[in-house]
């Protein structure tokens, strides 16, 4: 998706290169790299890319924002940029202005529900909420019996049980116990309980695709340097074929994620076509993450298994991102049910419509 005429993405890439260098972060003993990185991202207006200017944002297009997320994946970025972008997008769906700091969204898993109580407070538990403990605000999708609402809450008003995903990024359980939101408005008509999950899933798909692009680049570079049995390991056919398979997985992930992003950017609503594109991207990118990460590690041998090597920043993150906003098993069941309900002879027309 690298597009040189995309100025928003180019800005993001420059900041990632300057302030999120994987080598520096891997060797850092503390979190001191985070503040300057976030400050630069905020100054450039990137966290609120998807928020219109009248809601405090920078009003970038969906397409530009998706390109930023792909670049964030290539950088193995481990600050809540995607989460804040999603939160800003979610709040703006209901016309709620965004605060100027890091945010996340809840719920992040398909089975979690946050209830909107009769008194206007929120109750429920959202698990695996990415970076919740590092944010000041959470954008929430909440259900009452007959209404779907979008709310902004103070993270401090919730109970946070800290957790980590396999990439050691914060992934926390957030408990809402009659939390009074700062702002709450009805969700727009076409918005349903899966909309946030689909949007989040496409964000994660683009990040996974980006991480796979970097795994490929790092692995090809390593294979062209590392000597074994008196030659570069890149010259061994077994290694070549493994890397060709990694390239195929990265290409498939990129194609699926870019296609889904394009579908959402051009759609007026989240219809069956957007559903097919979004969940296919999440399923295929998750599968690619598994196969691709295994090959990247195999090519690197023991050095790639060390905490000081940068490879794990991409492999573990790509694997962790599979679990956010519905994993591939969940979406495959949903897609399979949708296909079955439409009937055998409607499958090809659906695929061909894209």
């Amino acid at each position: 998706m690298a597009d040189n005429d995309n100025i928003v993405m180019a800005t993001a890439e420059r900041i990632f290169a300057d302030l999120a260098d994987p080598q520096t972060i891997t060797h850092s003993k503390d979190a001191s790299w985070r503040a300057p990185l976030w400050e630069a991202l905020s100054k450039a207006g990137l966290p609120l890319s998807w928020v219109p200017e009248d809601c405090n944002g920078s009003g970038a297009s969906l397409a530009d924002g998706f390109a930023v997320l792909n670049a964030a994946g290539r950088a193995g970025l481990s600050v809540p940029l995607a989460e804040t972008m999603l939160a800003g997008w979610l709040l703006s769906q209901a016309g709620i202005a965004s605060p100027f700091d890091a945010m996340t969204v809840a719920p992040a898993l398909p089975k979690d529900r946050i209830a909107l109580n009769d008194d206007g407070t929120l109750s429920g538990t959202a698990r695996s909420v990415p970076f919740a403990s590092e944010t000041r605000h959470i954008a929430v999708v909440a259900n009452s019996a007959n209404e779907l609402a979008i709310a902004l809450v103070n993270t401090a008003d919730c109970r946070i049980t800290a957790g980590l995903n396999i990439a050691n990024d914060a992934s926390d359980t957030v408990t809402f116990d009659k939390v009074q939101p700062i702002a709450i408005k009805p969700a727009p008509q076409q918005f349903d309980a899966t909309t946030l999950l689909l949007m989040g899933g496409v964000a994660r798909s683009l990040q996974i695709a980006g991480a796979l692009e970097s795994m490929l680049e790092i692995s090809v570079g390593y294979a062209n340097e590392r000597i074994a049995f008196e030659k570069k390991i890149a010259k061994f056919q077994a290694v070549q074929h493994n890397l060709a398979k990694l390239a195929g997985e990265a290409a498939a992930a990129l194609a699926a994620a870019s296609s889904a992003a394009d579908a959402i950017a051009k759609a007026s609503r989240f219809d069956d076509a957007v559903f097919l594109e979004s969940v296919s991207a999440k399923i295929r990118c998750a599968e690619a993450a598994e196969k691709g990460a295994a090959i990247a590690h195999q090519v690197h041998g023991a050095i790639g298994f060390t905490s000081e090597h940068i490879l794990h920043r991409y492999t573990m993150r790509a694997l962790a991102w599979r679990d956010d906003f519905g994993n591939e098993s969940h979406w495959a069941v949903e897609l399979g049910k949708c296909v079955a309900a439409r009937g055998a002879d409607e499958l090809w027309p659906l695929v061909a419509s894209r």
Binding site: V279, A281, G336
Partner: protein, 386 residues
């Protein structure tokens, strides 16, 4: 980042949808008339020649070629729609498929004008069938080991030797083949092969069908004994076929036929599980559909690159690698998922027959037109590993 990883989200333009409707309506008429049975891919259809002419009459052959040669100057994306609809319907395309996909573009590029004027309009009318003479008994993937000789004689060349695994040679009107015109050199082992157009009615050509494990006999051994090919049937540079081989590969390797060859078993599985599948079947179908959708988006993207005048050889190789492995595994995955389907859905016999056929067909999918190993070698070269 390597250029091989660009798969832009190309969309089919609006004119494709009207075309798709026309193709579907035509195919429905052909099914109604008994030309072929879309649910029985194992049957070869009654009237592949007549079908070919009728497809030509609709303007669906040589779609991207110049009008002066009978073509229609339409886009690769429009051609893509026709190809995928025919494939999904299991239409009997064998009479025209090779000519339309590969042979015509080679002639357009390398044949002398009078031959183009003679043959290309006939391809567009669906009248002629082509085969491709590449493999020999001792040279398959190693194309440049070909030994079948073309020896210079008055006004042309005498061909001696044999080709093998040549699809449709028993019904083909022409073959485009590579023959050895010089020995390879120390510096370049690919040197010395020349591409020729061969009229299959030429005396000295014997075609021997070879029965396959599916029970069909659609590939052949072709033996040449002093078969005469005139000088104007040389295609391109003498001894330089190796320079010409690569660009065609992008056409050959990235099309919908590279992942839809066994698609029918997925349709039939969806029919067998019915509207309320259990979790296992739903998940299995969901994954297969996600994979299918992704490959198609990759394949359409390559068609878009062809339309833009690029030669996406590496991208096309990636599509064929992933696509053929997928279509090869598909009957096995469907078999797994069908294991717990009710014993008596109405299409039980159809699914069983299709699975038997697809399972027997599957091994060839990762061999024909460039093996998985060859493709991964090309991808590795594109990555800068060799």
């Amino acid at each position: 980042m390597t250029a091989a990883l660009r798969f832009d989200p190309i969309r089919l333009p609006p004119e494709c949808e009207a075309l798709r409707k026309d193709v579907r309506a035509f195919l429905a008429e052909e099914v109604a008339a008994g030309t072929f049975d879309p649910h029985r891919p194992q049957r070869e259809g009654n009237d592949a020649r007549g079908f070919s002419r009728r497809v030509g009459a609709h303007g669906w052959l040589g779609m991207t070629w110049p009008k002066q040669y009978g073509g229609h100057e339409r886009s690769f994306l429009e051609r893509y729609v026709v190809t995928e609809e025919m494939r999904v319907a299991n239409a009997p395309t064998r009479h025209f498929f090779v000519a339309d996909r590969q042979s015509g573009p080679v002639l357009l590029k390398y044949a002398p004008e009078h031959i183009k004027m003679d043959i290309l309009p006939r391809i567009c009318r669906g009248e002629v069938c082509f085969s491709i003479g590449m493999s020999e008994p001792n040279s398959g993937s190693d194309l440049f080991a070909a030994k079948t000789k073309a020896t210079k004689t008055d006004g042309g060349w005498l061909i001696n030797g044999s080709k093998i695994w040549t699809s449709s040679a028993h019904v083909a009107d022409y073959m485009i083949a590579i023959f050895r015109t010089s020995p390879s050199t120390k510096e370049n082992r690919r040197h010395g092969l020349t591409q020729f157009l061969v009229d299959m009615k030429t005396p000295g050509i014997a075609v021997n069908p070879i029965k396959q494990i599916t029970g069909q006999a659609e590939f052949n051994e072709v033996v040449f004994t002093d078969a005469f090919v005139p000088d104007d049937h040389v295609l391109g540079e003498i001894d330089g076929a190796w320079k010409q081989a690569t660009s065609e590969l992008a056409y050959e390797r990235s099309g919908p036929e590279r992942f839809l060859e066994t698609y029918y078993v997925l349709t039939e599985l969806v029919r067998a599980v019915g509207p309320n599948p259990d979790t296992r079947a739903a998940e299995g179908i969901g994954r297969l559909v996600a994979q299918l959708h992704t490959m198609r988006r990759m394949s359409v993207s390559v068609a878009g690159m062809l339309q833009a005048g690029k030669e996406p050889v590496v991208e096309a190789s990636i599509v064929k690698d992933i696509g053929t492995v997928w279509e090869q595994q598909l009957p096995h995955r469907v078999r797994d998922l069908a294991a717990f389907v009710d014993v008596d859905p109405s299409n039980h016999a159809t699914l069983a027959e299709q699975l038997a056929f697809a399972t027997k067909l599957a091994p060839k999918l990762t061999i024909q037109g460039g093996t998985t190993e060859v493709l991964r070698g090309i991808i590795a070269r594109g990555l800068g590993l060799r």
